[in-house]
Subunit: 117 residues, 2 copies
Amino acid sequence: MVSQTLTDDDVDRIFRALADRTRRDIVRRTLTAEASISELAKDYDMSFAAVQKHVAVLEAADLVARIPRGRERIIQGNPEAIRRAQQLLGRFEQIWRGRIDRLDALLAEDPSSAQDH
Amino acid sequence: MVSQTLTDDDVDRIFRALADRTRRDIVRRTLTAEASISELAKDYDMSFAAVQKHVAVLEAADLVARIPRGRERIIQGNPEAIRRAQQLLGRFEQIWRGRIDRLDALLAEDPSSAQDH
DNA sequence: TGTTTGTGAAACCATTTGGTTGTATGTTAA
DNA sequence: TTAACATACAACCAAATGGTTTCACAAACA
């Protein structure tokens, strides 16, 4: 566990980072097996610098770690960050579920208060 | 269920739409209780047109529905879309878990093949 | 040692984003 | 039937995004 409480800026960065297919693919790959930036870059139809930028966006969102190893930088996907993002969406679900629960409670509690909407 | 198989563009739109705090707030609110665009706009420090644009982004990602009612447009959060987004992240988790499982299997299967990495 | 390889970083560019204002149009209410 | 309200939409703008090329530099190799 690192910081637990995410700011709005943190959440912005996480979803923004996930909103690009190349970056999602990099996360997927490095979650399975770490790779250097140039290894990653080989598989995408863009320059090394472009891939490097994508990695920087992912690192800023803490979705990957960039670990120096000799002249290389090894990229590792961060499963904890994915889990945190999932929990963020889980809160939305809870909010929705909460609405249903309140509605149920209202209807159960006082049937005479039922109104059409 | 609507389309089930999301394209890369669909996923791009979903995460992009969630990468803005105003839009996340609109989703939260309209998941709890539907509201017209002008009702929403009252609570944000920006123009009506700006809120209208945010709603359009959310609608394009299918995170909210825009339902005409008289002269108003009622915005409803779409819990199904949230769930789909959560499942997308769930797949990442599975990928990571799969890596661990394969590693465990490898180590369990043939201890002599263990190597440092 | 010199050369290749891997990375970092700057400058640049087109497009998208997130905001604005202004105008038009449909809908409800007096 | 006006007036007020809710929305739609266009034009505009600054800043961010996603890409490029180029140059610098450190690490590994022949």
